[in-house]
């Protein structure tokens, strides 16, 4: 390569660039072809199947753990392929992103084409109308121009877009077919964008809230937070909620005794710290909407209040402790009390709360979900609770591996009663109970756009299936003496050819419409120039 030969070098460069552009154009054409879209649709369907047959992290993480335990050889391999998170997997995203790129590449140019053609008149009438799928010849005493004016008027009255030429009329109708088709496809793009919006800036959270308590909508205020990809802790709407009272009513008699009849949580909430609190009665299926965030009532239970005094006489525990329902019919609930700081040794209690305690064959059970006869039955332990190792522990489980059971007479406690622990270890008092609710907090800004997109897609779909795009052409000729119709008629002035064509008659019915159009034209011509018993030559060639 030398300085005095710049031209060929530049040329080569241009060729390479052209080649690249050519390849890109070729690739784009391939991607936006219907064939590729079909293959991608298949792949999308195929790729979804493992998501329904294998347990998924986002839906049932416990089932995934069970699967790992049951298939120790296979599960890690499947896990590497994202088989337990199919709908968040990169390969799944690759398929639908390619599909939607293909869709956009196909639909957008069509939308521009439609916009251009909307302003244009129908095309010229073809020369040989009898070659079209539907065609009919009529004769009329009216002259050709008169017949064409009549036909044009009739078609315009039926909301056809018409165009008049030399000896012909062409008419078109049904642009809504293409409009519907495009609306459907563009709405699908909108649906994807809405889902993406929700996944990026939405979040889900859970909070168990005991009556009388308040929580703030923040990463620390929530028990569980599943943020979207672009969400950080500070982005959460800063509302707070106080649970004043939870009310549950149950069917008290009959075969449905114990069935819930009403749940209501009397809340107070504000939209930001320091703002005035407003009341709200939260019920199932009636979420609280605050600042675009929806708060659902998804569960409830009891939180017995315990007070623990240790061997030194210090009050080391005094709070309501949420117990988790083990069954719904009587709301028998289980829970633990952890007092790691008690002296001389840490204390732990595990037991059940019985809203309506009854003895069945010497065992305790709860006969009704409301707290009509509340009792708590506890087993007491002393020792090391294992809470100083830095390992996070569930508040609902007591690790008794380094503890020993204390000899306490197993008597169920009524509110106000206490158990005195042996060896001067202190005392636990069951002071009463409060109720708790479990709240699901969801923020999905894509939800409303998704609904609108879905409705638009459905409307577009129905429109494109129900409307057919069709063209009608009419030619009128001065009847000549050797025409067979002219010979048959006393005074025909014109022979009118009518032809119809449809591009998209999915639902059928164009034959009927065409026949009706011809009938109307016949009637219109008769009104212009009454003919006695004018015959119609069908499909004359």
């Amino acid at each position: 390569m030398t300085a005095d030969q710049p031209a060929p070098a530049g040329q080569t460069d241009a060729q390479v660039r052209l080649g690249l552009a050519g390849w890109l154009r070729w690739g784009w054409r391939q991607l936006t072809s219907m064939r590729t879209a079909l293959v991608l649709l298949f792949l999308l369907a195929l790729a979804s199947i493992p998501g329904s047959l294998l347990p998924q992290e986002g839906i049932n993480p416990q089932a995934v753990s069970q699967y790992y335990a049951a298939h120790p050889a296979l599960a890690p391999f499947l896990g590497r392929l994202s088989a337990f998170n199919v709908f968040g997997a990169p390969w799944f995203a690759a398929i639908y992103l390619l599909l939607f790129t293909s869709l956009a590449g196909c639909v957008l140019p069509r939308a521009f084409r439609l916009a251009r053609s909307a302003g244009q008149p129908p095309p010229n009438a073809p020369r040989h109308l009898s070659r079209l799928p539907h065609s009919v010849r009529l004769s009329t005493p009216a002259g050709p121009d008169e017949a064409l004016a009549c036909a044009s008027g009739m078609l315009a009255a039926r909301r056809f877009r018409t165009r008049r030429g030399d000896g012909w009329v062409s008419a078109e109708k049904g642009y809504l077919h293409e409009v519907g088709n495009l609306v459907f496809h563009i709405a699908l793009l909108g649906l994807l964008a809405s889902v993406a919006l929700g996944a990026l800036v939405g979040y889900k959270g859970n909070r168990l809230l005991v009556a009388g308590d308040t929580f703030a909508n923040s990463p620390t205020g929530l028990d569980v937070l599943r943020p979207g990809r672009l969400i950080s802790g500070g982005d959460l709407q800063p509302f707070s909620i106080t649970l004043d009272r939870f009310t549950a009513r149950y069917v008290s008699a009959g075969p449905e005794r114990g069935q819930p009849a009403y749940f209501g949580a009397a809340l107070r909430y504000n939209t930001s710290p320091g703002a005035p609190m407003r009341p709200y009665n939260l019920q199932v299926n009636h979420p609280l909407i605050v600042d675009g965030v929806r708060v659902f009532l998804i569960g409830h239970g009891y939180a017995p209040v315990f007070k623990v005094t240790d061997g030194t006489g210090a009050v080391v525990y005094d709070q309501a402790t949420p117990f988790i329902p083990l069954e719904q019919a009587g709301l028998t609930s289980a829970g633990v009390v952890k007092v790691p700081d008690a002296r001389p040794e840490g204390l732990g209690f595990a037991g059940v709360f019985l809203p309506t305690a009854v003895g069945v064959n010497g065992r305790l059970a709860s006969a009704f979900p409301a707290a009509l006869f509340p009792r708590v039955s506890l087993v007491s332990y002393a020792g090391n609770l294992g809470m100083d190792g830095g390992q996070p522990q569930s508040v609902y489980n007591l690790d008794i591996s380094r503890m020993h059971q204390l000899a306490v007479r197993p008597v169920p406690l009524a509110p106000g009663q206490s158990i005195t622990l042996p060896q001067g270890r202190g005392k636990l008092t069951f002071q009463g109970y409060r109720q708790w609710v479990s709240l699901a907090i969801t923020y999905d800004p894509g939800q409303f756009p998704a609904l609108i997109s879905a409705i638009a897609a459905l409307a577009g779909l129905i429109l494109s299936f129900a409307v057919r795009r069709r063209r009608v052409f009419i030619r009128a000729l001065q009847a000549s003496a050797d025409d067979e119709l002219a010979a048959a008629e006393p005074a025909p002035h014109a022979v009118v050819e009518v032809a119809g064509l449809t591009r998209s008659d999915a639902a059928g019915g164009f034959e009927e419409e065409f026949a009706e159009l011809v009938g109307q034209l016949r009637g219109a011509l008769d009104r212009v120039a009454p003919a006695s018993d004018a015959p119609v030559l069908v499909k004359g060639e």
């Binding site: 329904s52 591009r503 034959e511 011809v518 499909k539």
Partner: protein, 388 residues
């Protein structure tokens, strides 16, 4: 209790409906037999007639039927002359079906001239909405009677339970088989596809038979999760869509058989459409069957789409999210995608016809798997089958 008496009456009525359907199937079979014999006789007669210069054996030009059906007494000397589809290609037109009307009408003409081989003059019976043949008329009347009985059985059960009678798998199968018969009757009246009777009633009777014997669940209250008016919206849409999908799948199976027979006939040197004999010769051409199946999907697909959207709205109200990839949701999505593929395949050169038909059957397989497989083998939020 009145409720249990009503439920018993409902069961009895349903059994009766199944019996009536079975008799109707017999009628359709008899009709095919009579027409098959008439066709053989007609072939012999045509051989004789041709010598006498009769115009018999020519297909009715569709234009003649159009003229006969048109208001204003349009009628005229019908001259034979099919148009060549090649002429239309330039306009990007759908393949026209000059012989479809004649084909469809042929199934209903009296004395049973075989499909596409009606006499050469416009026959009033050929354009009539109702079936022409005696056995076909009887079988169709029985089908309608069975449908009324089945609807009555559903209404009785609904009254007995004070709710919509589609809350468990037994009731759901009754409802979708009813929707399939509704699709059969609707398409018969709209597109004159009376010939489909035997082929649609066969799976319906088998499904109902299995349903009342194995799947049966006694009348009872709805599980709390289903106590919502969205049950009426979401599940009803799914039922209607599934009925149409069943109809479309049955027509498509016939299409694939007819298409194969036509291909073989063409390869064997042009015995003509349906020239291979058997039941297929009594059915319309493959192209007409293809269009009928397509129309079924065109109706079912928006209904399915609506059902999925309604389900998403319900899920949002009930579970706080509109889409969560629950197994049932996933399979309704897969079904939607496969049927969308079918609609696209039908508009793509090289995929039209046999391949598109296979895709449609794959979509129907997804519908079936979602109904049976997911209900029985996969646990999810939609576990309402009521089977133990």
């Amino acid at each position: 209790m009145v409720g249990s008496q009503l439920a018993n009456a409902s069961n009895f009525t349903l059994d009766l409906a199944i019996a009536v359907y079975a008799v109707a199937m017999l009628g359709y079979a008899l009709d095919l037999m009579v027409r098959g014999q008439a066709r053989v006789a007609g072939m012999a007669a045509r051989g004789a007639g041709r010598e006498g210069g009769e115009p018999a054996g020519e297909p009715v030009p569709a234009e003649a039927l159009v003229a006969a059906a048109a208001p204003g007494g349009l009628a005229g000397p019908a001259s034979a002359g099919g148009m060549s589809p090649a002429d239309l290609a330039a306009f990007g037109a759908e393949p026209a079906e000059p012989s479809e009307l004649a084909d469809l009408a042929g199934g209903g003409t009296d004395a049973g001239p075989p499909a596409g081989l009606s006499p050469g003059s416009p026959d009033p019976a050929a354009t009539s909405r109702w079936p022409g043949s005696r056995w076909l008329r009887r079988a169709f009347a029985l089908t309608c009677a069975g449908l009324v009985l089945q609807l009555a059985a559903m209404v009785l059960r609904g009254i007995a339970e004070h709710r919509l009678p589609w809350g468990n798998m037994f009731e759901f199968i009754v409802a979708i088989s009813c929707a399939a018969v509704l699709a059969l009757v609707g398409a018969a009246v709209r597109f004159r596809s009376y010939y489909m009777g035997l082929f649609v009633l066969l799976p319906v009777v088998v499904a109902l038979g299995v349903d009342v014997t194995i799947v049966y669940t006694a009348a009872g209250p709805l599980v709390p999760a289903l106590q919502s008016y969205w049950l009426g919206v979401h599940v009803t849409a799914m039922i209607i869509a599934m009925g149409m999908f069943i109809f479309g799948a049955v027509v498509t199976v016939l299409y694939l058989l007819a298409e194969r027979s036509e291909r073989r006939a063409a390869a064997a040197g042009g015995a003509g459409p349906g020239g291979t004999g058997g039941i297929l010769a009594l059915l319309p051409r493959a192209q007409a069957l293809d269009r009928l199946a397509y129309r079924a999907v065109l109706f079912a697909f928006p209904a399915w789409t609506f059902g999925v959207i309604a389900g998403a709205i319900w899920a949002d109200h009930a579970w706080g999210r509109y889409w969560g990839w629950d197994p049932k949701e996933t399979w309704s999505f897969i079904t939607w995608v496969v049927y969308a593929s079918f609609l696209h395949a039908r508009a793509t050169a090289g995929w039209r016809g046999r391949r598109a038909a296979v895709i449609q059957l794959a979509g129907f397989a997804c519908v079936l798997f979602n109904l049976v497989g997911i209900n029985l083998w996969v646990a999810g939020l939609h576990s309402y089958a009521g089977l133990h």
